[in-house]
């Protein structure tokens, strides 16, 4: 088994640097009115973790209900509300902002050699919009929730339910603008604030991935916004735009909704893929294979993702011609994702691989995202989709890509950059254990759901035929394990803030400008503007740096 690449300073003499972005100012206002992208990232991290656990609790309720075939734990209407809120919270309040708003906010300026994002006040506004949206969702939950599913399909949401569609819609509208402003900020920053020598093709792939996701945020989210406005007008004033009795078309809602919501899934996954590029390079001590291909594939995913939305609507009454076109485009959009997986795999080949926690999560991602992505291709084929849609196969598919993929990537990123953000290392053994528990729990939870879907169990049902119970019990058991796996990081990461080992500047010996500064970083990131004179993932350059340091210290 290979050694670890972790290289910590001598713990008896190491100290957290006195002057850093955390110690620079004190008091609650210095946090609530900050313009510092790093502080805003921490604010986001705390908020999204909070909402993650609420969404997780709702997931627990879902799995508890599904232990038995009858709808015995809660009324079916309540169950509808539980899965709807679970989806809304997890998608809009956790997954969409997860990597961009925390790791992206923190590290994009550092990776490009800038002092901050282009628009710090807009960055803070983004966070406030997120919090307001989140509070509105909480209010919705407390006043009875919404039971339309996170997809708000009309005419159910506009005419047939009496729940808080308008409030929830408004909450999502507000949170959506948080996302738009974050994306806008990133695009402007990456175009205009790169340090001297930092050309596009020397950028870390994490930056490319977030750039592509930001394009999606900026172009797609406003369409969701206007769709929500129309739904709210339909509900409050009966304007008739989605009402069949007045000549409106419910399918039009779906076209407009999925025009955003399909790119949304790429908004969610692309930043995670960016994390994987960083970790896979660092923990195989090797340049990412085919840098250009990976960079362009991020952009390709962003562009193509706009042409596939109706694959969510194959059974909704769209024309056969549309099914053909959207099915074909869906096949094409899978190609850039596959290119990334291949390139990451080739990065591993002949690399010096070590198995620190971020790498464990990375391997988890590679396997689980591949399965999830492949099943997406199955679903993209319209004939298969007609059989599998609205079953647990879909549920399994998107949980594989979102939880097995994105959430694992998020955790990989959090562990990878934790030492940089806090100056402290987390305890390695327990974190590796947590990663393993998560992986086992995840597979136990969601793999049976593929089978359930194939066997025909519909999604969004509180009651199901008894022959599906065994697999559901496996799934719930897995969910319990998974819950433990997600709880542990919160505990040991918080623990590490006080008791973790001092990490030093570059515990992973990674390339990348963020690792050439102190941990935690200064508020202005760099003492003087760095000049980029080497390619990304240049480990030889790193060796030379270390030799220079040794030579000069002596």
């Amino acid at each position: 088994m290979s050694d670890t690449i972790v290289n910590l300073p001598d713990q008896s003499t190491a100290r957290i640097p006195k002057m850093n972005y955390l110690s620079r100012e004190n008091g609650i206002l210095s946090w609530l009115l900050t313009g510092d992208h790093k502080r805003i990232a921490i604010l986001y991290l705390i908020s999204i973790t909070f909402f993650f656990f609420i969404g997780g609790a709702l997931a627990g309720l879902i799995r508890l209900e599904l232990l038995t075939p009858q709808a015995d734990l809660m009324a079916t209407d309540t169950y509808n509300k539980v899965f709807s809120m679970h989806g809304i919270i997890m998608i809009f309040l956790f997954l969409v902002p997860s990597v961009p708003a925390t790791l992206g906010n923190f590290f994009i300026p550092m990776m490009i050699g800038a002092k901050d994002l282009a628009l710090p006040k807009i960055n803070l506004l983004s966070w406030y919009l997120y919090v307001i949206g989140g509070i509105m969702v909480l209010y919705t939950m407390m006043s009875g929730g919404v039971d339309t599913g996170w997809t708000f399909t009309t005419p159910l949401s506009t005419h047939y339910v009496n729940t808080n569609v308008v409030t929830t819609g408004l909450a999502v509208f507000v949170a959506g603008f948080s996302s738009v402003f974050t994306g806008l900020n990133f695009i402007v920053t990456i175009h205009k604030m790169r340090a001297p020598g930092m050309t596009w093709f020397r950028l870390p792939l994490f930056v490319w991935a977030n750039y592509s996701a930001s394009i999606l945020m900026v172009l797609g989210t406003p369409v969701l916004a206007i769709t929500i406005v129309l739904v709210m007008l339909e509900r409050t004033m009966g304007i008739g735009v989605f009402d069949p009795t007045k000549g409106g078309d419910p399918v039009l809602f779906q076209h407009l909704f999925w025009f955003y919501s399909h790119p949304a899934v790429y908004i969610m996954i692309l930043p995670g893929m960016g994390v994987i590029s960083e970790t896979i390079s660092t923990f195989s001590r090797k340049r990412v294979f085919g840098y250009t291909a990976v960079a362009f594939s991020s952009v390709a995913i962003a562009v193509f993702s706009f042409f596939v939305w109706a694959h969510h609507m194959f059974i909704m009454g769209i024309s056969n011609y549309s099914m053909l076109v959207f099915s074909l485009m869906t096949m094409l959009v899978a190609v850039p994702s596959a290119i990334k997986i291949f390139n990451w795999t080739f990065t591993l080949y002949k690399g010096s691989i070590t198995f620190e926690t971020p790498m464990l999560y990375t391997f988890g991602f590679m396997g689980l995202f591949t399965i999830g992505g492949l099943t997406g291709v199955f679903l993209g084929s319209s004939g298969t989709d007609i059989h599998l849609t609205e079953t647990y196969f879909i549920v399994a598919h998107f949980h594989f890509v979102m939880v097995g993929g994105m959430l694992m990537a998020f955790l990989a990123g959090i562990h990878f950059w934790w030492p940089k953000m806090t100056g402290r290392m987390y305890p390695e053994k327990i974190s590796q254990l947590a990663a393993l528990i998560t992986f086992i729990g995840f597979n136990l939870t969601f793999f049976p759901q593929f089978i359930l879907g194939m066997l025909g169990m519909p999604r969004r049902y509180a009651a199901y035929p008894p022959e599906f119970q065994v697999l559901n019990v496996f799934s719930t058991a897995g969910a319990t394990v998974l819950g433990v796996g997600y709880l542990l990081p919160v505990l040991y990461l918080v623990w590490s803030l006080k008791y973790g080992e001092i990490a030093g500047d570059n515990p992973w010996q990674a390339t990348g400008l963020e690792w050439q500064t102190q941990s935690p970083p200064l508020t202005e990131n760099f003492i003087e503007t760095p000049i980029m004179d080497h390619e990304a993932y240049d480990y030889e350059w790193l060796e030379n740096q270390k030799e220079k340091e040794v030579a000069s210290a002596g």
């Binding site: 282009a118 807009i122 806008l184 989210t221 406003p222 206007i226 304007i239 008739g240 735009v241």
Partner: protein, 258 residues
């Protein structure tokens, strides 16, 4: 063609940099930027990206309009006939002139003409208010005639056009069957959604203009820091462009239908 008689805006920047101490940043230069050029260019790009989001925001409404107009053509024609082309044309002229005055305002800011800037902003504001005034007249007409969806919507004008003498005189529409007349509500939904969303953007713009007039009087925009005015100008022109399309789609294209 480039205007060669313009005052060189760059000279001001050059003067700020040459011969003086190293740290003579203008007060408005934020610390994370290296230069005022970078700051101006960055904020300009940011405003353009925001306008891109606005294009997609209105885009959803245009998509709905496109589809429903093709589905319910007779109803949309009848609905469109309820709109007054004179008011619509007047509104278009008002907005085009306000775009002109706004562009002139940007020029004044760029060339340091404080009084000119204030005048242009006031003219833009006045024209904007004029637009909203005309819109109010149009909307109250709709309210009187019960053409507001969801609020005692009446099919009378469409099933019996002769009951609406002014419109009938101009267009001589045939009566619509009830099942088609019902779809005029969709037309008016989109009419109010689109013009309402546009008017909301106008109101926000007018609010910002008011703020800008006070700041402009204090000389905030004529001492080199013109980006706020320039970027607001972009926003204002965009709102004008939306209206140009709304005017065509709502008022003009359905005047002759069978």
């Amino acid at each position: 063609m480039p205007d060669s008689s313009a005052i060189d805006h760059g000279a001001e920047q050059a003067a700020a940099h040459t011969g003086q101490a190293h740290d003579e940043h203008p007060a408005y230069l934020r610390h994370h930027f290296n230069s005022t050029e970078q700051q101006a260019d960055t904020t300009n790009f940011a405003m353009w990206l925001f306008l891109v989001t606005e294009v997609m925001f209105f885009g959803g409404l245009f998509t709905a309009y496109l589809i429903y107009r093709n589905w319910y053509y007779p109803a949309f024609v009848a609905g469109s006939h309820q709109l007054n082309v004179i008011w619509g044309t007047l509104n278009t002229l008002v907005l085009i002139c306000s775009s002109f005055t706004m562009a002139m305002g940007v020029w004044c800011a760029e060339t340091g003409r404080r009084r000119g800037l204030v005048l242009c902003l006031i003219l833009t504001l006045t024209l904007g208010l004029g637009f909203l005034g005309i819109k109010t007249i149009e909307y109250s007409e709709k309210i009187e005639k019960h053409h507001v969806p969801g609020f005692h919507y009446s099919l009378q004008s469409f099933t019996n056009p002769e009951s609406d003498p002014e419109i009938f005189k101009e267009y001589h529409d045939k009566p619509l069957a009830t099942d088609m007349a019902v779809h005029t509500e969709v037309y008016f939904s989109l009419y109010f959604a689109m013009t309402g969303m546009h008017a909301l953007h106008m109101i926000i713009g007018i609010g910002i203009l008011t703020f800008m007039i006070f700041r402009a009087r204090a000389g905030a925009y004529t001492t080199g820091h013109v980006t706020f005015v320039e970027n607001f100008g972009l926003y204002w022109h965009f709102v004008d462009i939306i209206w140009i399309y709304l005017f065509a789609l709502l008022y003009l294209i359905s005047r002759h239908g069978t």
